[in-house]
Symmetry: D2
């Protein structure tokens, strides 16, 4: 849905299941031509590669569990296809490093789906901070809380829960990999700062679970700012609450994904300002990622679509031999993905350590 | 964007401007085949009609100013095409009545784009009331406030302002037709009640403007409930605030379009309940109009898309000779459009009258 | 509690019941000297009058049902005592006019307890409008909704419900007198405008009730602004929601009593501003009515106490023969009370009329 | 103001400054008898002690900087006076332990002013958790953020800033002592759990400051629950945001001091419930700490007054030789104060340590 939203991307082929029959049925749902519905990503890449330019797919979008990111991503890149990939980047750090190398070597375009950075008010927040309106950043609180794994639902047939809590499919981390990395990415994206050191308490609070479902992390950033990051999938009643607060020497700001069209900037000595998607003289970046007039809420799919749209514009420019407007050259990269993987590793390392600080 | 969201509707042709060159350029933006970009709706309907079944368009979507609803709607219906049409239904009451007759005569499917009824929480609100959870309805407050016409911007080149404030293109009403009808439709849709009588104060508060830009209406409903409806386009700082409150003998409810995924039900003798899109055991209607998991905000385009999706399912069922699941047979009809036109007429009549109540 | 809050008013005597025993027991609860607990207001005023200056009470506070405002107010004024009186001013219009005359004749100080104007953010709103920051006012929406009379509780022993719905104790109006006047007073106080004409739909929605419990009123103000006022005591689930929105040619503002420390000013072309009690460079009026630092919520009693405190400062200045700082010479007067009574009469008249507009 | 609110406590004497003249002037402001305005707490306690029973003060309220808690508290207790004391309990741990001993030895009543536990919705939250409605508690997030010390204002004449950032008057901690202990107390009070271990990052982010102004603490509670506590006085634009979230195996809850009359309980599988002060069938504890009807906001002073009122009722019962209703035997004790002092010590110790966890 997100990819289709702007009419810039056409869904032309796919491999939807390792069961060819299931794959075929999914392809029908998407009204794909039956000869372009494949039984495996390998078959897809091999066959599409043989199609004439202009007809064959332009890029691959990987929306599988973590342990099936690396294989298709590698093969796509090696066969000349650009890639959009779900986060976290890969199953383990080696795969992540391999992908970074491969992208650098091939020069192909790679977008990692940290979709939350696609919201217009995230762009506005980043602009405000870049502009110095908050002064020097001193404190960051970023959180991502959910409650959907509060019970041991991986023991039932819940498909999403099953792979996300399975170390063989998800990797070394559960909540910290699934949503903790979104929080890390958002904090670094909005502030432009990098995490230098961390100290984590990583827990599995649901009996029987094999991976972490809750974690709290003290952070120190490269400019000296302090931070807290917490991610939880057992916070009963929380839907999908990704939220960030940034405090500088001049002002503070708050943004949360549950009301994504609102951005609050707070001052110690005057009224708060509430920025709203589409209202007033927002930054060019915020405007470029807004589709409809003020007061018509844009949501998750629109933000997601912004990543796809920007990626598509970059791919199109590459196809056309032109340069993309820099305002659209804005999506998470394979390097962001490797940073995220490293963050996961350091959090898990810290969680097991008696030492307070772990360097990132 | 809304029509494309669910992958059920393909954009195959269009007439985008009375200037053939402009129309062609728009068609290119949409990646349409050039032979299906037309210079006028007449050309489009005539030509498409000659195409073989399965290739020709299945329906027409009319997104023009009010004075250009009737022509294409009539011609589409007369040539066997289903229709989706922007609100209000038409330029005047005669056209509205003609369209009702034509739809009844042809048996074709006609959807009027009161898009706000597409929100999942509007479906939930309707369900709760239908279920009797509010008791007998006694009081309804519905409002639609905007500020974008607070200045005389029709004197500049603002295209939307120009036609919406022009009696030759908009009809007898400004704000009351443009957004007042949305409020009327929402109130009747959610409560299942009908307005019997009204008393309106209709004003033009910006100097030089030719149509109303603010109106307040006292309402009496067919079950004896009292109501207030107000619509304004000069309420400085309001974005697009459509909101409704319904009070019954057992409980009250509140919903507003600016935070569309939240529905509040209030009790006199216990805690309020906050329903959220995707959370918990919502009504089948709410669930059927939700795309993504809880906590991932769905917005205006998704609600809009729900109307298109339901319409598309009805058209598809007609094409397939099957019956559509009644849960999807849910979109505003040509009769709703005629009710809306009548509401506009009665509001304007009341605004000019010294008598207190006008029967609807 | 409100009178005591600032330590400027000492509770020295009272008449708490027509039953002398009950009155005595109440007096004990307040730790009053037993010889200053009276069996009737008459006894109280007569006796206190004979006490030496400096010992006798300085003013009378009348907190009885509407039909027992006039008697004690008149007698207090005639005997040289200043008066604080609950709203509405009196049982009927004649009493109201009498009291206006009496206050003018005696020159005594009279405060009417429209307590909601005591909030700091109401002062700030008034200041902002006075300052022209909203431009010319065009539209006012003021509402006061409650749900506590949604059932026929006057048939039980609910004391407050019993007298407030009883025409013999409350007067000609129920909800419109009890809370509608608060809304009217707030709108005129904040904007400085006066209501010129109105058109009301006044209803009794609970079977068996003798007075109105719901009303909606279209308003026209003396500067041409349009308005809506609605008051309801049958809005299920509403606690005590007095709220106002004012829209001018430059900006709009919103304030509501349920979150009284927040004032929102909205602009069409830039971020909203959120003023908060105690934060930043507020108007002198807002600051003078704030007791504690920012972020420590002040509520109903504090606002109520502001009226008492201002009244007390005026009485003290009178006693001292000095002039009070004009910032404290700010509380509703007997004239405001008479305006309120007239508003009630005109609303009830309009409610029964077939004519649209009634002059105020 | 808080002590006076309920009419249960009369202000009879005081020592307001070490400068006798200043003390006298303050006494006049409070309308105290001049012979009971003292030049020092020593003079006050010595003199009051000699007054006849019923006339002399019943208790002492200590509202001085931290380094002047111990002296007057000790002397008051040793001379038979009950004590209300500001938090944190004392300047250092030794003083705290001494006071605990002294209260136990004398049997006198001692209330520590953790005023935020006085809010009705805090009582309701505690009731809900005690009742098991949240299930077993797994995760607690408690925060107390302010921005008022974001600049080096202790270098100006700001009196509050001067002593609170001065190790000679405040003790070993700044923000963590001043507000961190409120957060700790609130978390333990609401949940009934105790902190077992902690890991803190304690920072001074404003140049030149002598004590911490920001701290983040990972917590482990005695039932295995994880927690985060953060307190900051440099969070630009934050007023006084004490807030807590508690997640259990059944549900979660959220309360914040900025909107103290609202308590949110969240469920994974149904609508959220919003409890409001005064609405519906609240717990007896919540009701006993509410003064006015629903929808009339109660704030900081009312919560503060609840601590005083409960303390006063206990003192009164002691004077009367009766037993107080257990619902009122509810205020922070000297032992809570000692726990708070220990918390401060452990946080500061952890802040300086390379070891991850410090036992509490």
């Amino acid at each position: 849905m997100a990819a289709a939203l702007d009419g810039e991307i056409e869904f032309v082929c796919g491999a939807f299941s390792s069961d060819p029959n299931k794959s075929r049925l999914s392809g029908e749902d998407f009204y794909l031509s039956s000869d372009r519905v494949y039984g495996s990503y390998k078959e897809m890449i091999e066959t599409e590669k043989t199609l004439p330019e202009g007809e064959r797919m332009d890029f691959v979008s990987i929306v599988t569990p973590n342990h099936v990111h690396f294989g298709p991503a590698k093969m796509a890149l090696e066969n000349g296809f650009h890639v959009v990939c779900d986060k976290p980047l890969s199953f383990d750090m080696d795969e992540a490093n391999n992908l970074v190398d491969l992208v650098q070597k091939t020069g192909l375009i790679f977008a990692l789906m940290h979709n939350y950075t696609g919201y217009p008010m995230v762009k506005q927040a980043r602009h405000i901070i870049k502009n110095g309106d908050l002064g020097k950043i001193r404190k960051i609180v970023v959180e991502y809380t959910q409650g959907w794994l509060m019970d041991f639902i991986e023991s039932t047939n819940q498909k999403q829960a099953a792979w996300r809590t399975d170390p063989k499919r998800s990797g070394i981390a559960g909540a910290m990999g699934d949503i903790g990395t979104h929080a890390e990415n958002l904090a670094e994206y909005i502030t432009g700062l990098k995490i230098l050191e961390l100290c984590a308490d990583v827990s599995t609070l649901v009996d029987g679970r094999l991976l972490d479902d809750d974690g709290s992390v003290l952070l120190r950033f490269d400019n000296g700012a302090r931070g807290i990051l917490f991610a939880s999938q057992i916070s009963a009643g929380e839907e999908n609450s990704l939220a960030i607060r940034v405090y500088g020497t001049k002002a503070g700001l708050i943004w949360g994904q549950l009301e994504p069209n609102t951005l609050e900037v707070k001052y110690q000595d005057g009224p708060k300002k509430i920025y709203r998607t589409g209202v007033g003289d927002l930054s060019p970046e915020a405007q470029a990622h807004t589709r409809i007039p003020a007061g018509h809420p844009e949501g998750y799919l629109e933000a997601f679509a912004n990543i796809y749209r920007n990626f598509a514009k970059c791919v199109q420019a590459r196809l056309d031999g032109t340069k993309v407007d820099p305002i659209y050259d804005d999506f998470p990269t394979v390097e962001d993905g490797a940073r995220g993987m490293n963050f996961i590793y350091k959090v898990i390392e810290s969680g097991k350590s008696d030492k307070k600080w772990v360097k990132v």
